[in-house]
């Protein structure tokens, strides 16, 4: 019994973190640290990868694009999962902060998907001879890009905040299911051209036998991208919270 009691107190404390005022508090303290760490990891990772790693035997210097493509792809996929979780918590507990986290994640996720697509296409160009190849990995990122756009457009299409939050959350939940379905449909649809992705990460980016010299800078730039994502997310969520409060105040002014 004691265990469950302790667990629930953690759980409540966790919810306490998500209360708007408390969130604004700890996020403002955490933000500067994250920004500094993100800047550090990003710069060292990219500079190290760009300047101090040898060319790959087969691909020549294009392998340097790896330091952009893989981290961006990683953030793009996890961004959508975060939106799924944020929407779920909104629908279950009406947590304003969690739905605003989902809302703030979308543009960042979309930008990261765009970067993954751009760098993927450019990276593939020398080997495949054309800029855009209907390769399963790139195509499923394109599908993910469409899902992001749908989510963002739905937000802007509905005036009332709570209705928009509810409907976009439902779209995110359903969209996530279909994103997985589309992923496997795309894999089924074509025989993969992609060179097998670079690092094993649970969300399906498979292992690539790459030597250590490429690996360390890659880890750093991945950390950099994730921290950048977190920083932008906190800024975005704080903006959304403030925007919501602003709208409340303006509504109240009209009513008086």
């Amino acid at each position: 019994m004691a265990l469950t009691w302790k667990l629930s107190s953690y759980w409540d404390k966790f919810w306490h973190l998500a209360n708007p005022k408390v969130f604004m508090g700890w996020s403002s303290r955490l933000l500067p640290i994250i920004i500094v760490m993100a800047a550090f990891c990003l710069s060292t990772g990219l500079i190290w990868g760009f300047f101090f790693t040898p060319d790959d035997a087969r691909q020549g210097s294009t392998v340097k694009i790896i330091y952009l493509h893989v981290p961006a792809a990683l953030v793009a996929i996890n961004g959508y999962l975060l939106m799924f979780i944020g929407s779920l918590f909104w629908l279950i507990r009406r947590q304003h902060v969690s739905v605003l986290i989902a809302k703030a994640t979308a543009p960042i996720g979309m930008a990261m998907t765009a970067i993954a697509l751009l760098t993927g296409a450019i990276w593939g160009q020398p080997m495949w001879g054309t800029y855009w190849v209907w390769d399963p990995r790139l195509t499923s990122f394109f599908v993910l890009f469409l899902f992001y756009i749908g989510y963002i457009v739905l937000w802007s299409a509905i005036e009332d905040h709570d209705t928009a939050a509810d409907l976009t959350s439902i779209l995110a939940l359903v969209g996530c299911g279909f994103a997985l379905l589309s992923r496997y449909a795309v894999l089924f649809w074509s025989q993969g051209l992609h060179q097998g992705t670079t690092v094993t990460i649970s969300d399906g980016v498979q292992q690539e036998r790459i030597s250590d010299v490429f690996f360390q800078p890659l880890l750093l730039s991945m950390a950099g991208f994730c921290l950048l994502f977190l920083a932008l997310l906190l800024i975005g969520t704080r903006t959304e919270l403030r925007a919501r409060r602003l709208k409340m105040l303006e509504l109240r002014e009209q009513m008086l």
């Binding site: 760009f50 694009i65 543009p107 930008a111 450019i122 020398p126 800024i235 105040l249």
Partner: protein, 50 residues
Amino acid sequence: MMPDLGNYAVEVISAYGLSSIVLGFLIFTSVVRNARVKQRLADAEARKDA
């Protein structure tokens, strides 16, 4: 200092260039929007208390 990028220099540079443009735009918009909303909120709060 510039590493010899061999015949794929254009690709690598354009990849980094494009990505930094997208990232730059993303960072710029989120920071600017944050500041603008912060400002308008401060005005609204001031109006409320006045």
